[in-house]
């Protein structure tokens, strides 16, 4: 079988490219997901004062800037060896809980819901948020926009800007919130909890009650036995803002729990000649190729992984939802890739409850929100759970705090091995003996893709403002048999 190495020029044709190679019988031998890597970020950061990075790094992503802002701010804390006062941490977590709410709401209704509300076989012209609203009612659309806006408002007030936040400083936050603001957040948070409950119920009514969807979720194509990674608090409950990082094996057993600063002892990066993107793996297990199971170092991050890696949720309604999910899907850990969507809703409930908890905490209006750094800056790691997975920011500076080196492990890159494997499974099922079920293939492949909610090539604003996806099927000699792409 011919091996094809990717020429840098070819990736300009599309942002997401899947290459599928058939064997002599016409069955899928291999498939490769290629997402272009943005070039020169480290170079771009070198020579800048490290406290600027929380304002620069959010521009990596147009949809989760707050995650980068928080991870970066924590890394800068670490570089300066500054520990923020308790009120600052609570304020940051309040802000960050709002971000998780906004992100999960947008993802579920705009991306996940269409697959489930309308079905994977639905006409692509309908399979979007507009189709969802047409089917479940305009009222819901209004509620989605309203609660997204609530979450955005909270982020804007604390963050200091409606677009990219500027509140994170070394050792704390830029300003405290007033009692009036706190009260406003509390009201918004109460509404958010109700909306989160409603969203979970919607999933219940539309997905869980539908046998075909349940078969799709638990079926072979979308099942993958991997390790799982997520941030947990001292009681091993999911926490998005702070804690240690826990890893469990495909049977759910803890194999590691480490401090953010030690991440390099646990995470290795494998490279392949056909991809600009690296393939993170667990050093303890080793890179054994694109395989599943306990012997392979492939691990996953993001909602399902976080729930698998934790022992529960820290708030009551979320805990209830967590228990129901595992009960329905046959216990922990759950390997069904489509369950990422369900886990995302459980997390939405937690984020909303946590938002309410923190907005009702009197300490959150405390004006003492900054510890001025005094130590000489050198090196630090900041980690948060971004909506799409564990996010690592690692900075090294000179003794004046000027950046010398930056290492980022973004959420999606950690799901890169698993994404490739999920796509291959879908392809193998749908392409046999040289025959490709074209429409179905693109849909099924997209569904695998969407469950992971990849976040890399999407930082560009260039119109039409979406990530074009192209699937290329080749024979053993590498000749193109078929080229499927989303219409632009």
């Amino acid at each position: 079988m011919k091996r094809i190495t990717i020429d840098p020029i070819t990736r300009l044709e599309g942002h997401g490219r899947i290459e599928i190679f058939l064997d002599d019988e016409g069955n899928v031998a291999n498939s490769y997901l290629q997402v272009p890597e943005f070039r020169g970020f480290e170079k771009f950061c070198e020579g800048r004062p490290v406290e600027e990075l929380p304002r620069i790094t959010p521009r990596i992503c147009g949809v989760c800037p707050s995650a980068h802002h928080m991870a970066s701010t924590k890394a800068v804390d670490a570089v300066f060896h500054a520990d923020p006062p308790p009120a600052a941490k609570k304020l940051r977590e309040l802000y960050y809980s709002a971000h998780m709410c906004h992100s999960h709401i947008a993802h579920f209704y705009a991306l996940a819901a269409p697959d489930f509300v309308l079905g994977p076989d639905a006409d692509p012209a309908q399979r979007n948020i507009l189709g969802v609203i047409a089917k479940v009612g305009i009222g819901i659309g209004g509620e989605v926009i309203k609660h997204r806006a609530y979450a955005q408002d909270i982020q804007a007030v604390i963050g200091g800007k409606a677009t990219h936040s500027v509140c994170g400083l070394p050792g704390g936050m830029s300003r405290p919130i007033t009692e009036e603001e706190r009260k406003d957040f509390e009201e918004k948070a109460k509404s958010m909890v109700e909306f989160a409950k409603f969203s979970l119920k919607l999933f219940d009514d539309i997905v869980l009650a539908n046998k075909d969807y349940m078969n799709l979720i638990t079926g072979d194509i979308y099942t993958m036995k991997s390790y799982y990674m997520g941030m947990v608090d001292a009681k091993n409950k999911v926490n998005f803002y702070d804690g240690n990082i826990r890893v469990v094996d495909p049977e759910g057993k803890e194999i590691a729990k480490f401090k953010p600063a030690d991440y390099l002892d646990y995470i290795g990066e494998h490279t392949e000649p056909w991809s600009y993107l690296k393939f993170p793996f667990l050093k303890r297990v080793g890179w054994k190729g694109f395989t599943e199971g306990k012997e392979s170092g492939v691990y996953r991050v993001a909602p399902l992984a976080r729930l698998n890696a934790a022992d529960g949720m820290a708030t009551p309604l979320a805990q209830e939802a967590y228990e129901k999910m595992y009960q329905t899907l046959g216990g922990k850990p759950v390997h069904a890739t489509l369950a990422f969507h369900w886990a995302r809703l459980v997390e939405l409930v937690y984020a909303a409850e946590r938002l309410l908890e923190l907005s009702q905490d009197k300490e959150v209006t405390d004006p003492n929100i900054r510890t001025i750094p005094t130590a000489t800056p050198d090196e630090g790691v900041g980690v948060v759970e971004a909506p799409r997975g564990t996010l690592y920011h690692h900075y090294k500076t000179d003794d004046k705090g000027v950046v010398e080196k930056v290492n980022l492990i973004v959420a999606t890159v950690q799901n890169n091995p698993a994404m490739n494997m999920s796509i291959k499974k879908a392809a193998q099922k749908l392409i046999t003996k040289g025959k490709a079920a074209t429409e179905g293939l693109l849909n099924m492949v997209e569904m695998a893709f969407r469950a992971y909610d990849p976040c890399l090539a999407c930082a560009t604003h260039s119109l039409p403002g979406q990530m074009p996806l192209e699937v290329i099927i080749r024979d053993p000699q590498g000749n193109i048999l078929e080229r499927l792409s989303r219409k632009l």
């Binding site: 070039r39 170079k43 521009r59 947008a106 012209a125 948020i129 997209e446 119109l463 039409p464 990530m467």
Partner: protein, 162 residues
């Protein structure tokens, strides 16, 4: 009639910032009372928050097409992106979907939406500068937008010839 000029882009991804740069230029040429000029790096549903309440919005952004010449300026409307609506983004809804959503929900979406798009060379290298041909396209693009505004009776500061 309330008009909004909205420049879109990512300020650190080379040509992706051209929309922001053009908005910056336009801001110096118009009074706040005549037209509001804003720039943002937000995408998707968040764009609705900017546009509500205006009668007309002119959006300025970068674009990459199969056969375009770098620096070329296109005048488009929401209909031109109608065929992109059906393809769900793996990350957020695109502009066309956000607009349609706003319309269906009965939000105060502008009646008139015009999009000026500039063909970009590079939107994947981290840099705060534009590539030369895109940089050179800015004065022309500013003129084109000004003509559009002029055609709707919106004059520049001191009624200057732009």
């Amino acid at each position: 009639m309330k008009t909004l000029v909205l420049g879109l882009g990512n300020p650190i991804l080379s040509d992706d910032s051209v929309g922001l740069r053009i908005a910056e230029e336009l801001k110096t040429l118009y009074n706040e009372q005549e037209v509001t000029v804003m720039a943002t790096d937000i995408a998707g549903l968040g764009l609705l928050d900017f546009m509500l309440g205006y009668d007309k919005v002119i959006i300025i952004d970068s674009i990459q097409t199969k056969k375009g010449r770098v620096g070329q300026v296109y005048r488009l409307d929401a209909q031109d992106f109608a065929t992109t609506r059906h393809a769900a983004s793996p990350h957020d809804v695109n502009l066309a979907t956000a607009l349609e959503l706003g319309k269906r929900l009965g939000l105060a979406i502008p009646q008139e939406i015009v999009i000026f798009a500039i063909e970009a060379q590079d939107v994947t290298t981290f840099s705060e500068s534009l590539t030369p041909e895109v940089e050179q396209a800015i004065p022309k693009a500013v003129q084109i937008v000004a003509r559009e505004l002029d055609g709707r009776g919106v004059k520049g500061k001191n009624d200057k010839q732009i």
